[in-house]
């Protein structure tokens, strides 16, 4: 089942359109309201596979809300209503036949503040695996090593896998959370300001990790930090007051924005 993309979008923002074989997530006229207050209005964009797409915009513009909508975290909140479609690899995520826990396995999420569980490093990474299936210990150990290596954390923690995850530094905790998400082999990784609570060195490590991970999966990054968006993303979407203002290749959005509003925001002038 393919969700059609409306190329005849009347919004003034030009939509970067990807062919179905390159498109991972397609968001189609998606609107969302919290307790009657509109947070997202008629968004249409598609996210390319194996690329880093950044959502930027001022606080309250709806970029985190959009990110959380992609793995249906809003289901936990009963006062949220939505319309329109979000499709993952052509399948509507709100389809009644879509298994929401399976969706969340395929669409991993990393939050602003590191949230390791109160267990050992090993158990944190094994958490998602244990939910899926019973694996022989040997196999599970291999996956955990692979996930920690992918998150560039293995060398730092291999000697203390059974120590509490809460003893790690903030940057290590955030990489552990990424490893925990990678362990269930998702197709998409959503990162909600993953470095905003970290020091500059840890931030650089996370950014490097994001660049390295795009060979394995599709990444969507929400950030407040323009330089970070410019450094790591391939595509950038600028959101403002729940609407998509501009979307395109990062180079183009940052060096030659189509719209004055985008330029004002990127250059730090008050919009």
């Amino acid at each position: 089942m393919l969700a059609p993309l409306h190329s005849t979008n009347t919004s003034q923002a030009p939509v970067t359109h990807f062919a179905d074989d390159r498109c991972c997530l397609s968001i189609d006229r998606f609107s969302l309201a919290y307790a009657g207050k509109t947070a997202l209005r008629d968004l249409t964009l598609s996210v390319p596979r194996h690329r880093v797409t950044a959502f930027i915009g001022p606080s309250g513009c709806g970029k985190s809300t959009l990110l959380r909508a992609i793995n249906r975290l809003h289901d936990l909140n009963e006062s949220v209503a939505h319309s329109g479609h979000i499709a993952l690899e052509g399948h509507d995520i709100h389809d009644p036949q879509m298994n929401v826990t399976e969706l969340r396995r395929r669409v991993g999420m990393v939050f602003q503040t590191p949230n390791p569980f109160p267990m050992s490093i090993y158990e944190n990474v094994a958490f998602g695996l244990r939910l899926q299936q019973r694996l022989p210990k040997r196999k599970r150990d291999d996956i955990i090593e692979w996930a920690l290596t992918s998150a560039a954390l293995w060398d730092e923690v291999k000697d203390r896998l059974h120590r509490s995850a809460w003893q790690l530094s903030g940057g290590q905790q955030q990489r552990l959370v990424i490893a925990r998400t990678l362990a269930v082999q998702p197709d998409v990784l959503l990162l909600d300001e993953p470095a905003s609570a970290l020091d500059p060195i840890s931030t650089l490590k996370i950014e490097e990790l994001i660049r390295n991970l795009k060979s394995q999966l599709t990444l969507v990054l929400v950030t407040h930090n323009m330089q970070q968006a410019a450094r790591v993303s391939d595509y950038t979407a600028f959101l403002h007051q729940g609407e998509l203002v501009e979307y395109g290749p990062t180079d183009q959005v940052f060096t030659n924005p189509r719209l004055q509003r985008t330029e004002n925001y990127i250059t730090g002038r008050v919009t």
Partner: protein
């Protein structure tokens, strides 16, 4: 403008003394509270534990020439006269007709501590204070020192192996009596004891207080059935209250729509914690004992009616009543624990593909476990000290049978039981011998405090252990 700021600063200067004083006021209230608590504990320890110390026996000769022996209890001022009077515990109720004697200090001519004075604990008639003249066993006879040595070896034997003997005793004023050995529980010669022997005897006395049943209408003996009843009732209560309280808290905090109704229920639960406990007792009596218990009797025990089985106060109904009483405590503590868990932890689990049940059982409940434990321990501490409702639903002054024994079904939920709090109340106010009851009251009170203290310490250590298990070492 200048005037106004000047007057403002002078007004502040006026209260400067308050600025330097308020920390002292706070410190003073802490100090006062600590002092009161310290005084409470000291009183209980000194009066409660001092009772078991084998104090020296005194032989007193009065100005009138009369002689008696006894143990000094306390001195008080004589009413409307100069001087003090002293209370002696003299025992020998069968001979003197009383166990206590008040003597004005002026009347005392001579006091001494002869080493051959002994104190026998016996039943009936309570303690004997005097001298051991001889022991007769069949045709054998021991006298003096040898008699005392023989008595200690006899008392070391188990009760059913002691030979049939007679003790020949004499009081300080020369009266004699014969006493069968079977009536003697223990014997002491405190004046001849070294301090380490006294310490040993004191330890034995404390142990017997803890391990034996009460005697002489709760004015003597120990409190073991009351300890057992209290602990058993509290355990049953925890088993009943924990699942209900935890499940209710999970519903209120995790499942229910957080609307006006939930808020109303929450306020209701918090208010229930403040309802006087006797009200729960009345409810328990009306609903559990007469309502449910009466029906059970009609359906299953109709052959023994009109004498009730479950239709009267008992262990089950007391535990149920206290479970109801402590339910709000468990709900509130658990709910607070659940509310403290960061949303990020829940979202983290859900974002990894956990269902709501998996999130609850694997992340939320383990994290809230210390709070639940706190709730249960608070409930236990409250239940262990509660007396008023129990008087209506099953506690007994003297329970003829323990609620647990070797007879099927081993745990007898319908039986009445003894409880430390009620035992304390009964000893203090319904005993026939008030002077004898006073030290037991202090000792029982100390025991109650200690039980609650031990329960709370267990909780603190368990909570600490659970936290450490999560925090540093997994």
């Amino acid at each position: 403008m200048n005037d106004r700021s000047a007057s403002a600063s002078s007004r502040r200067l006026h209260f400067d003394w308050l600025n330097s004083l308020w920390p002292w006021l706070c410190a003073a209230s802490v100090a006062l509270s600590l002092l009161m608590l310290g005084a409470l504990l000291t009183l209980l320890v000194v009066r409660g534990l001092g009772h078991f110390w084998p104090a020296n026996l005194e032989q007193v000769t009065l100005n009138s020439g009369e002689t008696f022996a006894g143990q000094t209890v306390r001195e008080v001022a004589l009413p409307q006269q100069e001087g003090d009077e002293r209370l002696y515990f003299t025992g020998n109720q069968d001979i003197d007709g009383a166990r206590w004697r008040w003597v004005a200090i002026e009347e005392i001519a001579e006091r001494s501590h002869p080493v051959d004075l002994i104190r026998l604990e016996r039943t009936p008639w309570g303690d004997f204070i005097g001298r051991l003249a001889a022991i007769e066993q069949a045709d054998q006879r021991w006298e003096g020192e040898a008699a005392w040595r023989h008595l200690t070896t006899l008392l070391a034997l188990p009760i059913n192996q002691r030979p049939d003997s007679q003790l020949l005793l004499s009081t300080a004023n020369g009266q004699t009596l014969r006493l069968p050995l079977t009536n003697v529980l223990s014997a002491q010669a405190p004046n001849a004891m070294a301090w380490w022997q006294k310490t040993h005897a004191w330890g034995e006395g404390v142990w017997r207080f803890l391990s034996e049943g009460p005697r002489a209408a709760n004015t003597g003996g120990g409190v073991w059935p009351a300890i057992f009843g209290t602990v058993l009732m509290v355990i049953l209560m925890s088993v009943m209250v924990t699942p209900f309280g935890v499940l209710a808290a999970i519903y209120l905090n995790e499942i229910a729509h957080q609307g006006r109704l939930t808020r109303f229920v929450r306020i209701g639960v918090r208010n229930l914690a403040g309802v006087p406990s006797i009200v729960y007792g009345v409810f328990g009596l009306g609903v559990f004992v007469y309502g449910i218990g009466g029906s059970i009797d009609e359906w299953f025990f109709s052959d023994t009616l009109p004498s009730p089985t479950f239709g009267t106060g008992g262990l089950l109904w007391a535990s149920l009543t206290l479970a109801l009483l402590t339910l709000p405590v468990v709900i509130v503590a658990t709910e607070e624990g659940l509310a403290r868990i960061p949303e990020a932890q829940r979202e983290g689990a859900v974002a990894l593909g956990a269902t709501r049940l998996e999130m609850l059982t694997r992340i939320v409940l383990p994290m809230a476990a210390p709070a639940m434990l706190t709730g249960v321990i608070l409930a236990i501490a409250r239940a262990a000290g509660e007396v008023a409702p129990l008087m209506l639903v099953g506690v007994a002054k003297l329970a003829p049978q323990m609620p647990v024994d070797g007879e099927f079904p081993y745990l007898h939920l319908e039986r009445k039981f003894m409880h430390l709090g009620y035992h304390l109340f009964d000893t203090a106010f319904h005993g026939e011998d008030v002077q004898a009851a006073i030290p037991l009251v202090y000792a029982t009170a100390l025991l109650l405090v200690l039980i609650v203290l031990v329960l709370n310490l267990t909780a603190i250590f368990l909570r600490h252990y659970l936290r450490r298990q999560r925090g540093s070492e997994c």
